[in-house]
């Protein structure tokens, strides 16, 4: 995924921050252990959220240990260990990263992407064996996405739908409990988060997509007429913001119906972190610049 689902660290309590960081390190370690150390470069905030959310939802008793790692060789940090949800999230992350790299290779003939793809492919195969069902759904969604791109769909809602469906299914598979009603709320949360990621990413990519003449639903929906990029962004900003905030509001309304652990951290992400991210992306600061590893 892309790393948009971040907490607002300044608004966290120290203990919440420490736990969030332990989850962050936990996903990273899990990727390293089961998929090979090079896969760890694919670590991002979205998969940390996925792991944290599922672990909280599945009511896991987390196993915390202090460990060293390559990024922090001298100082031991808390790490969440032996969590099924984190392992699942690490696997999903590799599956998605692999497909994204494949896409980059096809679109831009980026050799870097091709190279990275080959490097993580042993990890990809392992993750695939463990998550056949999820992989099937991911594949179907990405195929639908491609069809939409090829026919130059003019509706951002329609274009974002497959991605929303994909996150929805991933959350449902990752939730181990079979509770029909609970699942409905989880699915709605997943669908809306997926849509939010897709649309915010589309906005973030406007400039790049114009340059490279790639498909971007926003260019079609709002009839880009070769104006200046900034002008175009200003023209559509308010409407995009309204939609993104409403998507988050819907996700939050679903979250309110769930009973889970770590409510404060997840609330921070849903209400503060993602809202802030929406504003920073719309105001034009690139996501890569303010995403730092912990």
């Amino acid at each position: 995924m892309f790393g948009y689902i971040v907490p607002d660290k300044g608004e966290m309590k120290i203990k919440e921050y420490e736990l969030f960081r332990a989850y962050y390190c936990g996903v990273c370690k899990s990727m390293g252990k089961s998929l090979g150390p090079l896969c760890r470069f694919g670590l991002n905030y979205d998969s940390v959220f996925l792991g944290l959310f599922l672990s909280s939802l599945n009511n896991e008793t987390v196993d915390l240990k202090k460990e060293n790692c390559i990024a922090n060789p001298f100082k031991k940090k808390w790490v969440v260990k032996n969590s099924k949800s984190l392992d699942f999230s690490a696997d999903i992350n590799i599956l998605l990263t692999y497909y994204k790299l494949l896409d980059d290779w096809k679109d831009d003939r980026s050799f870097l992407a091709r190279f990275a793809q080959i490097i993580i492919s042993p990890g990809f195969k392992k993750a695939l064996m463990r998550n056949k069902e999820a992989q099937q759904h991911i594949k179907i969604s990405l195929e639908q996405l491609q069809i939409i791109e090829e026919r130059k769909c003019e509706s951002m809602d329609e274009a974002a739908d497959p991605f929303g469906q994909m996150i929805k299914v991933i959350l449902r598979i990752g939730c181990q409990e079979e509770n029909y009603k609970k699942n409905k709320a989880i699915e709605w949360l997943g669908y809306n988060i997926g849509k939010w990621i897709y649309i915010i990413d589309a906005f973030d990519d406007i400039e790049k997509d114009i340059k490279k003449k790639n498909y971007n639903p926003l260019l079609f929906q709002f009839k880009y007429n070769n104006e200046e990029v900034e002008e175009f962004k200003d023209r559509i900003k308010e409407e995009i913001k309204f939609n993104l905030i409403h998507t988050l509001a819907q996700a939050a309304s679903a979250f309110e119906l769930l009973d889970l652990k770590n409510k404060n951290i997840i609330e921070n992400i849903l209400y503060l972190g993602m809202e802030k991210k929406t504003k920073t992306v719309l105001e034009g600061r690139s996501c890569n610049k303010d995403e730092k590893p912990l």
Binding site: K181, H246, T247, N268, Y271, E275
Partner: protein, 207 residues
């Protein structure tokens, strides 16, 4: 029944005032209006029921007469009286209400004359699917075609209201939003001082 204190999110043995405050906040959060045109309306209703039960239980425990809240709740979400509709439209509405979106969509596509209500219903279907941009566009068309219809306007306002609520909740949750900061306090004092001086008095001597 779950521990009623837990349901209301207050500590055991909380005072009546605390319980009332928590209850009010929760009713606002899970109010059916927040979940209208949203596939989770049933779940929210259940949650509200649980909250009402917990509240009633605790209030009884405190041996006090119930305040008006629980009596209000019985009316939530049931007042759906629509005017004169063609049978097809009411069928579509039924399908939307029961969450059968595909059937509603199929019926809608059979309608040939696209009037304001058609666009409105199309908007509701989009809402249910989570296609908010399309929903807002469709409902706006309905409002433009029939500006006097309050139902259409309401639907549009509710979408904006949800955004507002989400952002207010986030804002209130921030640590910095809690109290007055020093700067606002100074401003207030200076303003008050000016006002007082205008009227011939003086609040702060040195300014």
């Amino acid at each position: 029944m779950r521990n009623p204190y837990e349901v209301l999110g207050v500590r055991e043995g909380a005072s009546v005032d605390e319980i009332k405050r928590a209850y009010k906040e929760l009713v606002r959060k899970y109010h059916p209006d927040q979940y209208r045109n949203n596939p989770l309306s049933e779940l929210a209703e259940e949650k509200l029921k649980e909250i009402n039960q917990a509240y009633d239980y605790l209030m009884k425990q405190h041996e006090q007469k119930n305040t008006g809240y629980s009596s209000q709740n019985s009316s939530y979400g049931k007042s759906n009286s629509y005017g004169s509709n063609t049978t097809l439209y009411s069928q579509i509405r039924m399908n939307i209400m029961s969450g059968n979106i595909q059937a509603a969509e199929a019926l809608l596509n059979r309608v040939t004359v696209k009037d304001a209500e058609w666009h409105y219903l199309r908007g509701l279907i989009f809402m249910r699917k989570g296609w908010y941009n399309e929903a807002v566009n469709s409902i706006s068309i309905a409002v433009n075609m029939d500006p006097s219809n309050m139902e259409y306007r309401d639907a549009l306002n509710r979408i904006a209201y949800a955004n507002n609520r989400y952002q207010t909740y986030g804002y209130d949750r921030r640590y910095s939003a809690g109290g007055m900061d020093l700067c606002t306090m100074c401003q207030c004092l200076i303003c008050s001082d000016c006002c007082c001086e205008c009227m011939g008095g003086d609040l702060i001597r040195c300014i």
